[in-house]
Every structure is written in C-alpha cells, then in structure tokens.
Amino acid sequence: MYDSRNIRRIIVAGLLLAITLLLAFTRIGFIPVPTPAANATIVHIPAIVGGILEGSWVGMVIGLGFGFASFMQATIPAFKDPLVAILPRLFIGVSASLVFSAFYRAKKQTLYIVVGVLTVLVLAVVLILSGVFPGLLANIQSLSEASAGIAAFKWWQGLIVGGVTVALAAGLVFWLRKEDRGIVATGLAAAVGSMTNTVLVLTMATVRGYFTAGMSLIIGLAQGIPEMIISIIVTVAIVAAVRQFGRRKARL
C-alpha cells in the first residue's frame, strides 16, 4: 500500500516547499527587471518543477506554500487577500504538470500537427477580426452585443498579431527539430505555469476590485513576460540537469 513512489512524492513536495519558502523569505527569489514593479519573481519555479517531476498533486501543494508565503509577506493590500494570494497559486503546478505530460508523451509528428492547427486557427480568427470578411465580422459582433472582448482589429494590428503568431510557431517548430522532446515539454510547461500565475492572480485581483482592468493588463504585460522568460530558462536548466534530458546526457 505504501510504495516508494508515494514516499518520494511526499519528500519532494516537502523539500521543494522548503526551497519555495527559502526563496520567498530571502531576497534571492526576486530578479531586478526594468518594469514598474521592479522585480520578477522566481518563487513560483519550485511549484513548476514539482509539477513536472512528480505530478499535479505535488505541484498543487507547493503552489499552496507559495501562495501562503506571498500572503504572509504581502506588502500590497491586494496580496493580503487569500483569494488573490493563495487560490490562483494552486494551479501553477497543476497546469505545468498537465502541459508537460501532454507534450512529453506525444510524438513529434503529433506536436507539429498541433502547432500547425493552432497557428491556422489563430490566423483565421485574426483574419476575421481584422475585417477582411466584413459580413462575418458583423455576425460575430451581433452575436456578442457587448463586443467588449471582440473589438474589431485594425488591419495593422491584425498584421502584428499574425506575424507574432507565425514567428512563435516557427520558433517552436525549429526548437522541436533541434532539441530533445523533454526540453521542449519542460520549456512549454514552465511558460504555461508562469502564465497561469500572472493571469490568474491579476484576474482575481481585478475581480476582487484591488486593480482596475487597465492596470492589470499593464502589470500583466510588463511583469508577466520577463517572468515567463526567466522561468523558462531556469526551469529548463533544472529539469534537464535532474532528468538528464538532451545534450546533457552525453556530458554526464
């Protein structure tokens, strides 16, 4: 009944929780970045690593610890609200774990197809929204009377979004060709985990009325993107070293 896998899960959760607390309560867990908030956090990385290595439950427990630490340490009133500080953090490890296992188990061909389909979908949506087919756009707008979320793009905005999408997809395909599948899965899991943190926390803060929607969007872009990049770099380095993915295999 009590297998070694279970014991290992408990211990990894405990130790990564300790690292979370260590990063949170010393200033190591914060990297200075040129944004108004001045610091990008890496405190959520143990939750992502725990989710990748030992599954959703471990990720969730570590996320709970992260939430609790940020709740205890909060200097902004918004983070003294458990609904903002703790609840969203539960899902960092969970989403990272799901993304990792989905991508790690999939074949490369399947991944190429998924990336291709997603790109085509995004491009189609952008095309429709930028008013290339006026009839369709009118239909969509009449569907959503408020049309707050689906405001029509201008053609150049559509071009930028489309360009970024194609560039991201091309980069991903190139990365998949070059690197081990485990590395790509880890990187994507880190990106999604980091985004989960940013998006859910700011959404909760907006819903609870601490920030206005505009403030949240600006903080999200300024804070979320550097945090995502940093968490991809650090998480890939950690998981590759522990699991011995990719080129590191030969060296060790």
Binding site: V49, L53, I76, M215
Partner: protein, 281 residues
Amino acid sequence: MASLEGLRHVSIGQYLPTGSFVHRLDARLKLAACVALLAALLLARGYLVNIALLIAIIGLVTAARLPLSYLLASLKPALPFIVILTVMQLLFYGRGTGGSAVWVEWGSLVISAEGVQLVVVSLIRFIGLLLCVSLLTNTTTSSALTHGVEWWLRPLTAIGLPGHELALVLAIALRFLPILGEELEAIGQAQASRTITTGTVSRWHFMAGARRIANLIVPLFVSTLRRADELALAMQARCYQGGKGRTQLNPSNWRTADTFAALVAVAVLAVVIILRHFPIP
C-alpha cells in the same frame, strides 16, 4: 557575497517565547482562531467594524507581550510602494456603484466617498491580517504548529485525502528550511571561488540576472532532489507506513482556557457576519 551571509537564519515568523497566556493556548485552537479572525477581517464591512477588529487584534498582540513595532517593522521597506498604490487606487477608483458622494472631481480623476472607504478599509484589513498571522507564528513553535495542522487535516483522511501526508510535507519543509539555507550559502561561496559572481546586476540586463540566479538555484535543486532520494530510502528502511497508529512525543492537552478562547473567536466571526446585514458606517 554579503547578501549570502545569514541565509541560515531564515525563519518564518520567529517564535518569541515571552510566556504569555496566548503562548500557552493549544496550537489547534490558535490555528482555528487565526483563520476565524482572518475570515472576520475579510468579511467586515464599513469603518466601525474594521476599526473594532483592529483594536481587538492589537489588544491580543499586547496581551501576548509581543512588541508591536517589531511586528510592523517588515512594513517599513515597502512603505513607499504602499503609498503609491493607495494613491493610485484612490484616484482611479471612479464613482463607484452606489451613487456615493463625490468629493473631488478633476477631469477623469474622481475621489468618491466609496473610493475613500475602500482604501481606508483595505489598509486596516492589511495591517490586521499582518498582525493576525504574526500573532500565530510568533507564539507557536513550528512543531506544535505542525501537529495542529495534522489534527485539523484528520477529517481529510476520513474521506480518503492524504491529511497526514500533507502535515508531513509541512514538517519536512520547516525542518529543511535552515539546512537548505546553509546549502545555498555554501553553493554561493563555491561559485564565487570559481569566479562566478552571484550578486545583483543592473535591472536592464535581466537575462544576465536570470543566468546568475540560475548559477545558484540549479545546483540547489539538483542537490535537493538528490537528498530526496536519500531521505526516501531512509524512510523506507525504517518502514514508514503513513499516519496510521502514530503517536506524538508531546501530546497537547485541551484546557478550559482553550474552550473559552474558541468560543470568543466563533462569537467574533458570528457578530461580524451578522453586522454585514446592517447599514453601519
């Protein structure tokens, strides 16, 4: 390098043994009472109730013989940030929903009575929550806290969730926190001896900053996960079988004072919830 010194002294909410009656209360009760007070703070509406709660919490802190200035000291570095956020919230809150009185209007900047109330209440709430959590961690040892958490998680075990395991996770984390702190310090010195600097860099070179942090963090994770293997083996060798039939070294005993304190905490929460339905300023 100087930033790495003192990592081994990491502690969350340092236990301050002043021997007051708050310290002697049962850890299980203190956990629950702390949660009840936090809930009361979050649910309280209006100026009066919030101020009353804050005064009650400050009273408890005094009764626990904890120095108030010590508890609030952690706020000092963040003070400018708090002020800026407060002002922004005040200016950009808008008119609110209830058609409350508008005090200042200048272009798109509106200061309404509702906005002021929101700001003042969130400040009070913020200080109250800080004091409340410090009150728990400063008057309870970490082992007592762990046993308290385990006791409260027992119902989870009944419905098949790993209550005991969660408490064990917490115990491992608290136990290894100083050890990992020492480890991090050692890694920092080892990297410095290889001329890999670990200090801070300009915020514009945040990628370099990330790489420097990675120089510290990656070895820490790798050695920690290796330690996890050893610990797992050690626990298996000692036939760890989960929470069934485990006993405690120092079982806590429930006293009359605990029952009384529990009743007070429940009463406070109940009063706050009832007062939500009355129009009190």
